[in-house]
Symmetry: C2
Subunit: 236 residues, 2 copies
């Protein structure tokens, strides 16, 4: 099967979570919009947004849905029902986490410029770093603590581990100060990050021009004014 991935060509964004799975598995795929900016959106079924994947006659959208489809086919997810539901739950939690990362620089509107919502971004980023980031990190560290073997599902790497790697990379880029100060408290997450980075096909991918550098158009953005160590927010 030769897959076709459709995603914005200038950023890692949500497409990167799919790319990491395809690259790690050595799957054959075309990153269509990086070859040609010209594309027609499928009409039926129509995705709501990028990314979408074409696999034969299937058009699949929503990142977690694409990964759920690809996972067992690429050897990156269990085939049994229980395992599939569990790894998908982890991926959907990462998807929620990613939205919150995005909203640190776009708390008012995704169609507005950052500069138009900079003041609100400072408040939202401070809350994210103080209240939300520790919650997500603590959750995944805890999952890893309960599951011996080093990866989220145990000894075998899943697409959720690749996504967790991407979260760490993105957080290191976007919040070098605040995340740098806290990441050491999550050694099992960092271990996943290191193990994923060392997987041979991924190491080659990450060193290649196919890996788009992080930048200020993507979901993870580095704005020094947002990267501060906030105080704890009040709980309601």
């Amino acid at each position: 099967m030769k897959y076709k991935l459709y995603y914005w060509p200038e950023i890692q964004g949500r497409g990167e979570f799919v790319r990491l799975a395809l690259e790690d598995a050595g799957a054959q795929y075309v990153d269509v919009l990086r070859r040609s900016g010209d594309f027609s959106f499928p009409k039926n079924p129509a995705p709501f947004a990028l990314p979408y994947l074409i696999a034969g006659k299937l058009v699949i959208s929503q990142t977690a849905n694409i990964l759920q489809y690809l996972g067992p086919r690429l050897g990156l997810a269990p085939r049994d029902k229980t395992g599939r539901l569990w790894v998908h739950q982890l991926q959907l939690t990462i998807a929620d986490w990613l939205v919150e990362v995005h909203d640190t620089h776009h708390p008012i509107g995704s169609g507005l410029y950052y500069e138009e919502q900079k003041r609100e971004s400072k408040r939202r980023a401070a809350d994210f770093l103080a209240a939300r980031l520790p919650k997500y990190l603590g959750y995944f560290e805890d999952v890893l603590r309960r599951m011996p073997g080093g990866y989220l599902l145990g000894r075998t790497c899943s697409y959720a581990d690749l996504s967790l790697f991407q979260m760490v990379e993105g957080l290191r880029y976007a919040f070098p100060v605040a995340f740098g100060r806290t990441e050491g408290s999550f050694p099992r997450i960092l271990n996943v990050r290191d193990r994923v980075a060392a997987r041979p096909r991924l190491a080659a991918y990450l060193a290649s021009a196919r890996r788009i550098p992080f930048n200020r158009m993507g979901i993870f953005r580095h704005y020094p004014e947002l990267d501060s160590v906030g105080k704890k927010s009040k709980k309601t």
Copy 2:
């Protein structure tokens, strides 16, 4: 199978999307936390957040994941791969939409009170009503236009139709002015809403005390100051 649903007892929230499916199918379930506030969070596998569903030995969390599991078992989703991926994509898009509804009154932090982020809420709600709501409504109207039969997948009601019903009900409660002014432009969505509301088991449920009323603790909240017809935001 007797299901156990765990969700906050005071609000419709995300749990309601699961309740609608269980109720429509006449499934046996216990809404555990409405019977007893005392619960212990499952440890392994541990959900990140409510809702979660216990089905025999399975613990399933993330609303869309729960619905994906229940759908074929309750006769609310197709059994074939293509259909399952498609309806799940629709549900994940509704999940994204719902986060944006929530963030109209919590654009800065979910752990802060509305009153602490009221000014930002006004901006976010205006952007949501002007830019985001039409995009979601237009998308689902378009899906319905391409698929004759009245429901999102054609002639058979799916869990995504029940969720679309819930979005309409919530929007009518939260934004009676702004949504009231625009809803007539989306007749196919309103038709789904009406057909779902008339399904006998759901009509009985909606008239019962089991249906928690909308309120200001839930995801859909009515604050008159947020329910205004904003001007179009600039696109980036």
